[in-house]
């Protein structure tokens, strides 16, 4: 038999080493797979930073690398938010930049000539490998089965829900934050299990790192206290819990307060109050337990319990009072909109306008997690088997994370790890049951059988009190090889489908850097549409070093990163009024916009126009948000209503309202566009409508550059007229007063609500 041959490798000390090496190599392979599956975009296009926010992080990293840490720390950036500027050093999460900066310097110390861009591009895949490893550790804390951890690591490595934010080039905070999240949780579980201050301190350390890396740290800040609170409510208070939580809270809070952007929030804002409250609660409970251990009397105990409840209630009331009185800042809009889901849509259009803040429909879950999504509840149920502290953590995490992910698409990211863990628990328990080589003998003496099966049958009475209904009977095992084979083979095929699914999703959905667009030529070869960089490079090379560029805020970071020119607004939407100003300039008549642009010293205006190529993500489609945001500040001057026809349609052809036709954005988008087409065939390929042959005329700005496929159009703001005329008359004078013709209407285009 094969066993005898292989025996020495699987038994005793050698066996342990063999398994260790096997496990190590498997983990390494998983990490490799995780990294490799994220390189689609690098292979298809090039090593390039992806869409919007990463460009800012990249720019900040370059600043850090070139100017050193302390300059970075108090970096005042006067090239964004002109003329306000931005205290960048104090308003960002430095963790990401510092990490890649450290890696850069380390490699340089080894005199390896690596470009900082490549580090930034490959940071996310690299950390995804670490995340897989952290998941492995975390899961091993959850179950005794050796396979669970490896499965969880594998799932985590290739789950699209995580890949979506960590492909090569998406150099965003999430790139390292998810690793930190999982690893912090692992350390927390470790600390709770051992009740050791060291692990608690480590947990706090990585919590601090997490705080420096991502705003999502609030999730940890609320999840760990919730875990503790639940445990206390379950009457599971123990010195272990006390030690680990107090260490974590004290050190972690101090660590988090070192980040300028966070500062005193941990004691001043409501997001952090739960942690503080639980901290106080633990003190009370600890005190009570201590006294109770000293004083055995029953009534005294109840008295103490009442006292605890009283103090807790009072302090809670105090917190509420402080919040109302404003000493403690109420919830920030973004966070508050998680609870009151209608809030953002009414009050914070900027938040509502971002696509990743929309709620999640079920296909998104299946798309991102495939079969894990239905293994997930099973895994959570398994956690109820032996409901130790760590399993409680899994349950709490699952419920909380699934709620959040349901409210906001981007929070799918925080759900993914626990889904992978739970699913791995389920699958591993299946495999462990059905992959046992030795089957139980047929009943008759099943009493001894149960014993020999490793798990002694729990006495029925014990099982009745606690434990799950499904576990009342003693464990027997699987008799026939057929059933083993069928289940295992089915499971394997599902897992294979899962792998295929992940690859497919990653390559089709999550691997395009929105800076470079790819299209297929008739002969099937790939054609790269590189208009963004064409225009940005033109700006960078052929305009004045400090020429102010006005564009919608989506492109602020890219202009800062690629064109290296000052912008009015960018994706760090800290100043709603300023954004609304740009929105107003874009959406009002030239006579209104020109003074605004002069006041902000705007030299060039950049608009994105997809009409020629059929590129749907252009400014005309985002236009309504500009209008809404502007209307929020100037309700009398900008009215969303005026951009809809009487029939409530949002149109750009002849049927468009006068306000629409006269708005600067409309004019700039369609300026000179129809000269491309033979008369009467001028068409907008995004909106799919025919446009009037006579395009709009511009008086206060002039076309400076238009990219090859017209995606980016740059206009130069004219200087004041030398002869002192107003620009309109000057321009019409030069034009020699052409007359416009009117053309009959075409079919309307009905407004689609967001």
């Amino acid at each position: 038999m094969a066993e005898t041959v292989a025996d020495p490798f699987f038994k005793g000390n050698t066996g342990r080493n063999t398994r260790g090496i096997l496990r190590l190599s498997i983990l390494v392979l998983i990490a490799a797979a995780a990294i490799a599956s994220r390189l689609f975009s690098v292979i298809r296009f090039e090593s390039i930073i992806h869409e919007f926010d990463p460009w800012f992080n990249f720019r900040a990293t370059k600043y850090l690398v070139s100017n050193g840490f302390y300059d970075f720390w108090d970096w005042f950036d006067d090239r964004t938010w002109h003329p306000l500027g931005r205290v960048t050093g104090g308003t960002l999460y430095p963790g990401l930049m510092v990490t890649s900066g450290a890696i850069y310097h380390a490699l340089r110390a080894l005199t390896i000539p690596v470009d900082i861009r490549n580090i930034c591009v490959l940071l996310a895949p690299g950390f995804s490998g670490l995340t897989a490893f952290a998941t492995y550790l975390f899961t091993n804390e959850m179950s005794t089965s050796p396979s669970a951890g490896l499965l969880a690591a594998a799932f985590m490595g290739i789950a699209p829900g995580y890949i979506s934010r960590s492909v090569a080039g998406s150099y965003d905070n999430e790139a390292i934050a998810i690793f930190l999240l999982v690893f912090t949780f692992y350390l927390w579980i470790k600390a709770v299990k051992l009740g050791s201050a060291m692990w608690g301190a480590l947990c706090a350390l990585f919590y601090g790192y997490m705080v420096s890396a991502w705003g999502g740290y609030v999730f940890i800040t609320n999840l760990i206290p919730l875990h503790v609170f639940v445990l206390v409510c379950m009457g599971r208070f123990s010195p272990r819990l006390y030690v680990s939580y107090c260490t974590w809270y004290a050190l972690g809070t101090l660590a988090s307060m070192q980040i300028p952007f966070v500062g005193f929030l941990p004691i001043r804002s409501s997001e952090h109050m739960s942690a503080l409250g639980v901290f106080g609660l633990l003190q009370l409970v600890g005190f009570v337990e201590f006294v109770r251990s000293g004083v055995p009397s029953k009534q005294f105990g109840t008295l103490l319990r009442g006292f605890v409840l009283l103090v807790f209630g009072i302090s809670f009331g105090g917190l509420v009072l402080l919040t109302v009185s404003g000493v403690i800042a109420p919830w920030t809009g973004r966070f508050y909109s998680l609870w009151d889901t209608g809030y953002a849509k009414i009050h914070i259009p900027i938040i509502a306008s971002v696509s990743e803040h929309q709620p999640t429909a079920w296909p998104a879950y299946f798309f991102d997690l495939n079969l894990l999504i239905w293994l997930f509840p099973a895994g959570v149920y398994l956690c109820f088997q032996k409901l130790a502290d760590e399993q409680v953590f899994v349950v709490v995490y699952s419920i909380l994370a699934s709620y959040f992910s349901g409210v906001m698409v981007r929070l799918m990211l925080t759900l993914t790890p626990i889904v992978c863990v739970a699913a791995a628990l389920a699958v591993s328990s299946l495999l462990d049951t059905y992959l046992l080589l030795k089957s139980p003998e047929y009943p008759g003496d099943s009493a001894t059988e149960a014993g020999s099966n490793g798990t002694p049958a729990p006495s029925k009475k014990a099982a009745k009190q606690d434990g799950l209904r499904s576990m009342r009977q003693p464990l027997v095992g699987i008799y026939t090889t057929f059933s083993k084979m069928s289940v295992v083979s089915a499971l394997t095929s599902y897992l294979l489908i899962f792998v295929l699914h992940c690859t497919w999703v990653t390559s089709n959905a999550y691997s395009s850097p929105s800076v470079v667009l790819a299209s297929r030529m008739p002969d099937g070869s790939q054609h790269i549409i590189d208009d963004y960089r064409e225009a940005y490079q033109w700006l960078r090379q052929n305009t004045a070093e400090d020429a102010k560029i006005m564009s919608w805020w989506d492109y602020g970071y890219q202009i800062g990163g690629m064109a290296d020119r000052p912008t009015l607004v960018d994706n760090n939407t800290w100043n709603n009024t300023h954004i609304a100003t740009v929105g107003k300039a874009m959406s009002s008549r030239e006579e209104v916009s020109y003074p605004i642009m002069r006041q902000h010293e705007v030299d060039y205006v950049l608009v994105v126009f997809g009409g020629l190529l059929g590129y749907s993500g252009d400014d005309i489609n985002k236009f309504l948000w500009m209008v809404r945001i502007a209307e929020g500040i100037w309700p009398d001057e900008v009215k969303e209503r005026d951009f809809f026809t009487d029939r409530g349609e949002y149109r750009v052809d002849e049927g468009a309202t006068e306000t629409m036709k006269n708005s600067l954005m409309y004019k700039m988008s369609y300026y000179n566009y129809c000269t491309l087409f033979p008369p009467g065939q001028c068409q907008d390929r995004v909106r799919g409508v025919k446009l009037p042959d006579v395009g709009p005329t511009l008086n206060t700005v002039e076309e400076a550059f238009t990219s090859e496929n017209w995606i980016i159009r740059i206009f130069k703001v004219k200087d004041l007229d030398n002869a002192g005329r107003d620009l309109a008359s000057a321009a019409s004078f030069e034009r020699g007063n052409k007359k416009k013709k009117t053309i009959k209407k075409r079919g309307p285009k009905v407004l689609r609500v967001e």
């Binding site: 009414i346 296909p363 879950y365 699952s398 434990g467 009977q473 026939t480 059933s483 069928s486």
Partner: protein
């Protein structure tokens, strides 16, 4: 009346003096009416009278269509807010310093007005500035307030009105405290407390029962992971009819879903995970080989079919999805 007013106006020098008299009366009489019941219920004639120039007072008129047959949900949602606003404003200045009159014109009473204004939509809020007097505004065309962004609260409209009434009192909107609700809440709280204190010993086993908690958490997870929050926020329909009068259970489009759809999905997920659980926990505890064999086959079959069905549903939602399992293609 109109003729008379025109005459008065035509007497240029005396116009101001002469015109004032009836106008003042007009406002005071409307104001007294308003004190009795506000907003004033208007019809065509009253509307014309109220909004006719010259006026040295401001008018806010809500043109609405309350009747069910018009199916104007927005009107009905906004009406209480509107009443609250006008009543609190009118109470706010009994002397009528702000010289503002609130009026409501329902479509049934004011068809002509609606036609003359060429309104297709309701509700519409019209604001008439005074044409004579201290706060006179030259052009007396009404300012229009559109309900583009859904139902408005009284405060929002209040601030809007206040913008057009500078240096005049703006009585705040004060919502009446809902005593009934408060009492109800307190009683329920007390009741629950007493109930708990009485029923505690019986409750404890239930509270401490793992199965209950497991069930609760599983249900919660299933709800959330099938997009219940999406339904809640977007207020999606429960089912949508397909063109041919039937019912389509699954809404088209990747980021779109029906209420029923999510419940079906929840059922599928639940069944799948229950099958998994039984395979993992129940089956190995079956002592009789035959039954165990059957159970294994049944449960694996359930998983297989359900998963294949799930994939097919997803292919329905997402066109280009390449993977599938038999029997559902």
């Amino acid at each position: 009346m109109h003729f008379l007013k025109g005459l008065l106006l035509s007497l240029l020098p005396a116009a101001a003096l002469a015109a004032k008299k009836p106008v003042v009366d007009k406002f005071s009489q409307f104001h007294t009416k308003a004190l009795a019941s506000t907003p004033l219920k208007l019809d065509d004639s009253v509307y014309a009278k109220l909004t006719a120039a010259p006026r040295n007072y401001s008018v806010v008129v809500l043109l609405t269509a309350m009747e069910a047959r018009f199916g104007c949900a927005l009107c009905r949602e906004f009406q209480p807010e509107w009443d609250l606003l006008s009543s609190s404003w009118t109470k706010g200045d009994k002397k009528g310093d702000s010289r503002l009159v609130f009026g409501t014109l329902d479509f049934v009473d004011g068809k002509n007005t609606f036609q003359s204004l060429g309104l297709q939509t309701a509700p519409v809020l019209l604001f008439f500035q005074p044409t004579v007097g201290p706060h006179a505004i030259p052009d007396n065309g009404p300012i229009r307030y559109d309900f583009t962004s859904g139902p408005q609260s009284a405060e929002q409209v209040h601030s809007w009105i206040a913008r057009y009434l500078p240096d005049r009192p703006h009585p705040q909107v004060n919502r009446p405290i809902n005593w009934v609700r408060g009492i109800a809440i307190t009683t329920t709280i007390l009741a629950t407390i007493t109930f708990l204190s009485v029923a505690w010993p019986y409750m404890v086993p239930i509270i401490q029962n793992r199965n209950v908690w497991a069930a609760i958490s599983l249900i919660a997870i299933l709800l959330f992971t099938t997009g219940h929050m999406f339904n809640h926020i977007r207020k999606v329909p429960y089912v949508t009819g397909d063109g041919r009068g039937g019912v389509s259970y699954f809404a088209g489009g990747f980021s779109n879903q029906n209420g029923l759809e999510t419940q079906i999905l929840a059922a599928i997920y639940g069944l799948l995970s229950f099958a998994t659980i039984s395979l993992a926990l129940k089956v190995p505890r079956i002592t009789d080989p035959k039954t165990q064999q059957v159970a294994v086959i049944v449960w694996s079959g359930v998983i297989f079919v359900m998963y294949s069905f799930l994939l097919s549903v997803f292919r329905m939602k997402n066109g280009g999805y390449p993977f599938w399992l038999p029997p559902f293609f």
